[in-house]
Structure formats: structure tokens, C-alpha cells
Amino acid sequence: MKVRTMGRHLREGSRNITRNGWMSFASMSSVAITLFILGVFLLLALNVNHIANVVERQVEIRVFVKQGVEKVEVDKLAEKLKDFSQVESVTFIPKEEGLENFKKSFGDKAYWFEGLEKENPLSDEFVVKTKDPVETEMVAERIKNLPYVESVNYAKDMIKKLFTITTMIRNVGIGFIVALAFTAMFLIANTIKLTIVARRREIEIMKLVGATNSFIRWPFFIEGLLMGGLGSVVPILLLLLGYRYLIDLVQVDLNLYFLDLLPLNPLAWQLSVLLMGIGAFIGVWGSMMSVRRFLKV
């Protein structure tokens, strides 16, 4: 193909958008809306996943040391705990601090336990966090067998339940996103097809005048690319602005510190590239698929 012909295709492709004014607009707004929905749910799913991660991170193993163990041995135990490759952090809570915390949790009823200081019934305690929360159980079981360890507490049932929930949430999220992405592709391709079917006669005429298939296809390729690409600009802008506003709202105004949203920065780029990519790809794909049906003249 000659260069000037490529130039002609680019020109024709973009002019087709204005030529078919209303139809292009309808098509692009469908693309825009569908991508917007997809984007919203993508942001939602990513953040839910993030929050699930944060929550999982809270999981910890409480290791109780036997009563009356020497300070040196306790330090050795600390070293051993830190040596586990799966362990991220180890915090030591002396039994005095433990009792203090225990009493604090009773607020104004703390006076009930005044007598306990003399013969502190608690043990020294380590709080262990694993790098990957899923390894908690395995690590806990191994700690249990270390010397001087009296017992290990890691809320076995609670953790199981938590992981069931977070896994479920993640799976549902992925399921939704995949389903939505296919739906979006289908809807976009469908609208673009409808606009092209309306031009089947034009395609037939072009072929009868001697145009090759690729000569006819190129402008449609450009048109699909532009419609999908342009159709993704508005939703991308809306999503980014909306998300920035949401972050501000949640973290500054409402002070909902427990809602730990993903930061705007890498997300913005990823989202933009992804949505524009989907838009452009499906634009081209839908366009090519429907032109093909009318090329057999």
C-alpha cells in the first residue's frame, strides 16, 4: 500500500466519525458508559482486595512463654522466632505490660484486679506476624514445639473464617470484573456493529466500484480505533477526578481512617492505559468483525 493511500485511510476514517454524526455519537457514548461502569468496578475490586490484604495483615500469633523462664532463655527464644524465614516481625510484651493492658481493657472496673499485681498470673508474651498471613497456621504449629513455649494462640477459627471471607470476596470480585469486561466488550462491539450494518450498502458499493477488501477495511479500522479510544477519554477523566475526590472525602473530611484506599498515583496510569486499551481494541475488533460480513460482494 502506498503512503498516500494510508494518509487517505486515516483521513477517511476520522471523517467517517463526523459524517455519521449522530450514530458515532451514540456509539461512543455507549463505549464511554460501558467503560465507566467497568472502571468503577475495577476501582472497587482493587480497593476491596487492598482492604482485605490490610485486614489479613492484622492476623498475629501470640506466643506465651512458660512461667519462671530466665531472661537469657527468653532472648534466645526471641532470636529463634526471628530466624523463621516466614516471620516478618516479633514484638515482646513482658508480663507486667500484659497485665497493664489487661486491666486497661476493663476501664473503670480495673479495680477488681488490684490484687493480681503481686502474683501476676500472666506469662511473658511474643506477638509474631508472618510475611504472608496464609502461613500463620503453619508457623504457629512450628513455634509450639520450641522450648520454653507454654502455648500459642492464633485465633484458629477466626483466621479460617477470615480467609474464607477474603478469598470469597476476592473471587467474587474477579468474577465480577471478568464478567463485566466481557459484557463491556460485547456491548461495545454490538453498538459499533449496529452503526456499521447501517452502512452495508456503502460497503457493497465500494466493492462494486473495485475497492479491495483492505482498502475498505482500513478506514473502518481507524474509525473503530478512534471511536473506542475517544470513547474512553471521558470515563477515564471522570473516574480519575471522582476517585481523587473520594480519597479526599474519605481520608480528610469523613476521617474514615479504617477505609484504607489505594493511592491515586500508580492506579491512575494503570486504569487509563487499561480502559483506553480495551476501548481501542474492542472498537477495532467490533468494527472489523462487522465489516467482514459485508465484504463478500
Binding site: R4, R19, M206, L208, V209, G210, A211, T212
Partner: protein, 228 residues
């Protein structure tokens, strides 16, 4: 050169449009195709540039068997023929200039070649004042003339015209006929389906009369008429 050997055409709905056509049109000939409405003239013509495929039989165009043509080669064949369609077949979203220029873009002509040639053709069919009009803004005859200009613009070796004067007044019809005669004198094959008795009887050429899907008469310098 166009040759048809025992060509039959049955449309998908069962209509037998052509039944055993045998005909040979030499390069440089001028042929009228006449016959009553629904006789099969358009079908006969559509087979030549492969808008329709024959159900049976062989069609040779400049030696190539176009009934066995590969999909990819069809555009080449069509470019060697200029067609004036009975229903014009203009691109509705392109203006007059663009419609004619489209046929040149298809063969990847340069812009420098295209512009003067398109304007020349539109001058020829007296539409230079309608360059920027869209097909929906033209009268029937004007649309027909755009179709004629498009068929001529690439100076094809063969011109196939399906009732090119059906919506033209006698004066304009004669102007078009003079153009056809001139390019025919310069060696272009012209095949023209027509109902215009006056033209056929005045500008005497070979006449192929089709009736009920069969060639009823094939006569050099013949008159209009097909019954027997």
C-alpha cells in the same frame, strides 16, 4: 473481449433470469442490450463485472474465466470495467466530487492526477456546478450523470452501462451517447442496456435482444425491438 458460454442464472428465490446464454463481444465493439422489463438485461450485465455469479456456464473476460475467479482477484477485474448502475449506486455520505474521486482513490492515483481528471469528467456530464452536493440533493438525472462520470473517470477498457439515459431528457441523453460513441471510437468496448428506441434506431450498432432470459436476436446495426 467478453464471452459467455451456455450461461444460466437462477436467483436464490428460484427465478430463472437467464437460460443458456451464448454470446461473444469483441474488444472495441458497441453493443445495445434491449428487451422488455424483467427480461434479464441487468442480470446479463451484472454477470460481466461479477456482481452476480452464474449458476452454470463459463464467462471469459479478456481471457480470464471470471466465474472461477478467486475472491482476491475480483477487484482487479472490476477496475478494468467502468459500470453505470441502473440504480446509480452513489455513496450517500460523499459529495459529487468525492464520489467520482473515489473510483480513482481505489486505484491509488495521486491527488495531482485525481483532481483535474475528476473535474474534467464532471464538466463532461455538466455537473461542475454541483461539486459539493450530496446525492440526496441531486435530481434523478443528475445522480445518473454522476454515476456515468464515475464509470468513465479511470478510462477503463470496457464500459458497461445499465440504462444510462433512463432518467435523462433527450438532449442530455444524446450528449451522453456522443461521449460513449467517442470513447468507443478510441477503442473502448461499450455494452449498454437501454429502452430508448430513438437512440438505438438512430445510432445503429450491434443489438442483442433478450427475452425471457434467452437471446432472441443478435444483429449488427440492428433496430430496437425484440419480438422475434
Amino acid at each position: 473481449m467478453i464471452e459467455m458460454l451456455d450461461v444460466w442464472k437462477t436467483y436464490p428465490n428460484g427465478t430463472n433470469a437467464l437460460e443458456g446464454i451464448n454470446v461473444k463481444i469483441e474488444k472495441g465493439e458497441f453493443v445495445y442490450v434491449v428487451g422488455p422489463s424483467g427480461a434479464g438485461k441487468s442480470t446479463f450485465i451484472k454477470l460481466m463485472y461479477r456482481e452476480e455469479k452464474p449458476t452454470k456456464g463459463t464467462i471469459l473476460l479478456n481471457g480470464f474465466n471470471i466465474s472461477k475467479l478467486k475472491e482476491r482477484q475480483i477487484p482487479k477485474v472490476r477496475r478494468s470495467i467502468g459500470v453505470v448502475f441502473q440504480d446509480y449506486k452513489l455513496l450517500p455520505k460523499m459529495n459529487v466530487y468525492e464520489n467520482v474521486a473515489f473510483a480513482m482513490e481505489v486505484v491509488e492515483a495521486t491527488k495531482k492526477q485525481t483532481k483535474p481528471r475528476v473535474l474534467e469528467m464532471l464538466e463532461l456530464v455538466k455537473l461542475k456546478n454541483k461539486l459539493r452536493s450530496y446525492p440526496s440533493e441531486l435530481s434523478g438525472g443528475e445522480q445518473q450523470r454522476v454515476s456515468i462520470a464515475r464509470a468513465l473517470v479511470n478510462s477503463p477498457g470496457t464500459i458497461i452501462a445499465d440504462e444510462p439515459t433512463g432518467n435523462l431528457d433527450p438532449e442530455t441523453s444524446w450528449e451522453i451517447m456522443r461521449i460513449f460513441e467517442e470513447i468507443n471510437l478510441r477503442g473502448t468496448t461499450v455494452v449498454m442496456a437501454t429502452h430508448n428506441r430513438e437512440i438505438v434506431n438512430t445510432l445503429r450498432k450491434r443489438v442483442i435482444a433478450i427475452e425471457g432470459g434467452r437471446i432472441a436476436r443478435d444483429q449488427q446495426r440492428g433496430e430496437y425491438g425484440y419480438e422475434g
